[in-house]
């Protein structure tokens, strides 16, 4: 059954429909991408799923629960986590603290317990720090736990943001342009990493991307948005040959942008199965 189902979702800003009557489904365990030119409504749709926006029309169902009118934290509790197009780490917190915030709602320590430093709170802190370190290792940031987030290099910040999202143990991970601003080598590594998230952790992934190359390589299904509407959906091959897509998105030069078979070396250690 589909993990996420969006039916007829419409989001308007004033007179402008940023997303118009969008139908969309994501199957459990798949990697799905949304592509489209600038201003096509990709991020708006993303924000509707994550509860940053509430759509005016339509419904979004996640794992059988309607989520289109829930608060962000409620959606996070249900198992949706996201990253941001322009990295939004907690800049003045350390890497490990960023991840610990991601674990926040799964922990149970109360403030009274924290003041009294009860055995339960101590055990929970130790366990959560262990888990946070495992996540750091998993995303390739071992040993950088005490670095302030804003002092990490750019690529590490992207990885940390993903680690923070993973700390909520999501069923569905929303990645908003995870390779933005990366060079080809970094992009290849990130692509491989995203694939490993699905293969090793079993996390379903919805990806927004600008770079066709990334999307074509790893997505099982691709939806193309233009002016808030879905103009095509299918496999990478179907999308590439779709005349409407070529017209709207790839343009005349798009034919040169052949599907990249990214086979970047995977330098990510195997999962701990957390």
């Amino acid at each position: 059954m589909a993990l996420l189902e969006a039916a007829h979702v419409t989001k308007r800003f004033g007179g402008l429909s940023a997303v118009r009557a969008l139908d969309f489904t994501i199957e459990q365990g798949s990697i799905v991408s949304v592509i489209g030119p600038n201003g096509a409504g990709k991020t708006t749709f993303f924000n509707c799923i994550a509860g940053f926006y509430h759509p005016e029309e339509g419904r979004i169902t996640f794992d059988g629960t309607p989520i289109h009118s829930l608060r962000r934290d409620q959606i996070a509790h249900l198992g949706i986590a996201r990253t941001y197009q322009n990295i939004r780490l907690f800049a003045k917190m350390t890497a490990i603290e960023n991840i610990l915030v991601g674990q926040h709602f799964r922990l149970h320590g109360t403030w009274i317990g924290a003041v009294l430093n009860t055995a339960g709170v101590q055990a929970e802190e130790v366990a959560s720090h262990d888990e946070a370190r495992r996540l750091l290792r998993f995303v390739g940031l071992a040993g950088k736990g005490d670095v302030m987030a804003d002092k990490l290099p750019y690529g590490d910040q992207r990885r940390l943001e993903i680690a923070r999202a993973l700390a909520t143990q999501p069923k569905l991970l929303l990645l908003d342009e995870p390779t933005a601003g990366m060079n080809p080598a970094e992009t290849a590594r990130m692509t491989a990493f995203i694939r490993s998230l699905r293969d090793d952790l079993g996390t379903t992934i919805l990806l927004i991307e600008h770079q066709m190359r990334v999307v074509m390589g790893i997505s099982e299904r691709i939806a193309v948005l233009d002016y808030g509407e879905k103009i095509a959906e299918g496999t990478a091959r179907e999308i590439q040959t779709n005349p409407r897509v070529i017209e709207a998105y790839l343009g005349s030069g798009g034919a040169a942008d052949v599907p990249g078979q990214d086979k970047g070396e995977i330098d990510v250690p195997p999962t701990s199965g957390s």
């Binding site: 939004r88 907690f90 915030v101 403030w111 040993g143 002092k151």
Partner: protein, 590 residues
């Protein structure tokens, strides 16, 4: 921030070592001298010179009033030479010029006062001020400030270019002289109190400041102490001690500190105890606001409301006079004061949960005023006593007036114990799951919520726990004064607390203590200064924001960065937003 600040400094030196006798930039010297003069003029016109005049730094040699002018000259010369490599002649000349320009302003003031009556506008443009500036010579002595400050400036220039082994002890001696002279009024009574030290006290201090002999002794003691320290190499000796012996040093230092803290109010006198009690109250409130503002980033300018709630709760429950309702002992009322303050915290927090930033400050400002006005209003007069307040609140510990724990001394002790306990609680909270959620909300509340942090719950807890600490402070305040009035809770208390957190360092727990001592304690101790407290605040806050926006004792951020291995980044390890943006842009455009 530091990176961009360091960059120009790093580019400046290369030519400096080659040309130590760089030409004096007279334009710059003139500009700084004019600034110094403006400061000197301001200090004269607000009356600091005249008010400080009766107090001597060194009796018969220099008064505090004159010291303010000297400091203006020193400041101008210091800023002029700051970061400039010059030879001694150049430095002395530049310093003298800066000092003379600074002195021009007070001189001009003296002359102007002769012809124009400025007193209609400036109360302190008086013959008294003129007397200080001209050393009593009248208008014919208008040259005095110019010459005096030129000499001061030249001396500053010489000191700044002196060899390190002369410069350091000389600077230390001058600073020590300034401090002992300033706090003579505080240091003298304890010395005179005991028959053993009374002789020393009379030797060092006259009734209005240091004696000449005392000044000589202070200078000799500082210089001698430094030489002695150099001889025994105290630091390297401590470092050379075996670890086991060194470990003994810290606890013994703690014990010594503890004994000193216990002894201080008895030794230095009840006035000191009173000041520390007030500081302790502000520390309690500071810890509270540190949660709301420092950790969770919620600017609360009505914080005094919770302080008032705590005070009125204790007042109502314990007062033996008209408005007392329960006649409880003090200690039974304290928990209720804290709980009620928490309830008010939640009550206030609820309607303003969705308000952010500047709007939040305005809303909370309103709350604080509402509480103060309600407490003093006719509406609640029957309940809270209106402007007449609540009187006859029992002391926390009832003792006869001549007892060891009488008066402010017991509040000193209780305040310190409470501050310690609350510091402990604050540290535990900061390091907890909840503390991390607060920090996350401060950093980016949208992202925090998207990670599953319940904003309503977390923010309300920040308001409530912050209010609890303030309520505790208020309860103690009621016990300290024995009576409370609505006028005891003005807006300025809230601003004080916010200011001490900003000066101490947002979110930093030792910063709260340092901020309270610096902003509350020092002006209280130095009585002459208290009239100029607002001035002091303004200067301190502006200087803080300009030169050290992270505060005196910033929280973990800076400290951690000091002992963190540098990330193996390709050059952007300490890259601020600029580099990041630069790397982002190709992706954004492509």
């Amino acid at each position: 921030m530091t990176g961009t600040a360091a960059a120009p400094a790093a580019t400046a030196p290369p030519d400096a070592p080659d040309a130590p006798d760089a030409a004096v930039e007279w334009h710059r010297v003139l500009r700084i001298g004019l600034l110094g003069g403006a400061v000197a003029l301001y200090v004269c016109l607000v009356g600091m010179v005249e008010v400080f005049q009766p107090r001597a730094l060194v009796t018969g040699v220099i008064t505090l009033g004159q010291t303010t002018m000297v400091l203006a000259g020193v400041g101008a010369a210091y800023v002029t030479l700051l970061g400039r490599a010059m030879d001694r002649r150049g430095a002395a000349a530049a310093g003298a010029f800066a000092g003379a320009v600074t002195g021009l302003f007070p001189a001009a003031l003296v002359v102007t006062m002769q012809f124009v009556n400025l007193r209609a506008m400036f109360l302190h443009a008086s013959p008294g001020t003129a007397d200080v500036l001209t050393l009593g010579l009248g208008v014919g002595g208008a040259w005095v400030p110019i010459v005096a400050l030129a000499i001061v400036g030249a001396a500053t220039g010489l000191l700044l270019t002196a060899r390190a082994d002369i410069q350091r002890p000389a600077t230390a001696a001058l600073v020590a002289l300034l401090l002992t002279g300033l706090f003579a009024g505080l240091l003298r009574p304890p010395l005179l109190a005991s028959s053993i030290t009374a002789g020393l006290g009379r030797l060092l201090f006259a009734s209005d400041g240091l004696t000449v002999l005392g000044a000589v002794i202070v200078v000799l003691a500082v210089v001698g102490g430094r030489i002695a320290m150099r001889r025994v190499r105290l630091r390297s000796r401590v470092a050379a001690l075996p670890p086991a012996r060194r470990r003994v040093l810290t606890p013994s230092a703690m014990v010594a500190l503890f004994l000193l803290v216990v002894w201080l109010p008895h030794g230095v006198g009840p006035f000191f105890a009173q000041v520390v009690a007030v500081v302790a109250l502000y520390i309690l409130m500071g810890f509270g606001l540190n949660i709301t503002l420092g950790l969770a980033g919620l600017l609360d300018l009505g914080f005094v409301a919770f302080f008032a709630v705590g005070a009125y709760t204790v007042g109502l429950l314990t007062s033996t006079a008209e408005y007392g309702i329960a006649l409880w002992p003090f200690w039974a009322a304290v928990p209720f004061a804290v709980l009620l303050a928490m309830a008010f915290g939640a009550f206030f927090g609820l309607p303003i949960l969705g308000i952010r930033g500047d709007y939040l400050a305005i809303a909370t400002l309103g709350f604080g005023e509402i509480i103060r006005i309600l407490a003093g209003s006719d509406l609640l007069k029957g309940l809270l006593g209106g402007p007449r307040g609540i009187i006859n609140i029992p002391k926390p510990i009832e003792v006869p007036p001549d007892h060891l724990l009488a008066g402010p001394i017991q509040i000193y002790y209780i305040g310190l114990v409470f501050a310690l306990v609350v510091a402990f609680v604050a540290i535990r909270l900061r390091d907890s799951r909840l503390g991390r959620a607060w920090l996350a909300i401060r950093e980016d509340e949208d992202v925090a919520e998207a990670l599953g942090v319940n904003l309503v719950q977390t923010k309300l807890l920040a308001y409530m726990l912050g209010a609890a600490f303030a309520g505790l402070g208020g309860a103690l305040f009621a016990g300290l004064l024995g009576s409370i009035f609505a006028s005891s809770f003005p807006l300025f208390v809230s601003i004080n607390v916010a200011a001490l957190i900003i000066v101490g360092g947002m979110g930093s727990i030792p910063g709260v203590v340092v901020g309270a001592i610096f902003l509350i304690g020092v002006p209280e101790l130095f009585r002459e200064f208290s009239e100029y407290r607002y001035l002091f605040y303004g200067v301190a806050l502006i200087a803080m924001m300009l030169f050290r926006p992270e505060g005196l004792l910033p929280s973990r951020i800076v400290q951690r960065e000091l002992h963190v291995p540098a990330p193996d980044a390709d050059g952007d390890a300490n890259g601020g937003g600029v580099e990041r943006d630069a790397r982002l842009s190709p992706g954004a455009t492509g």
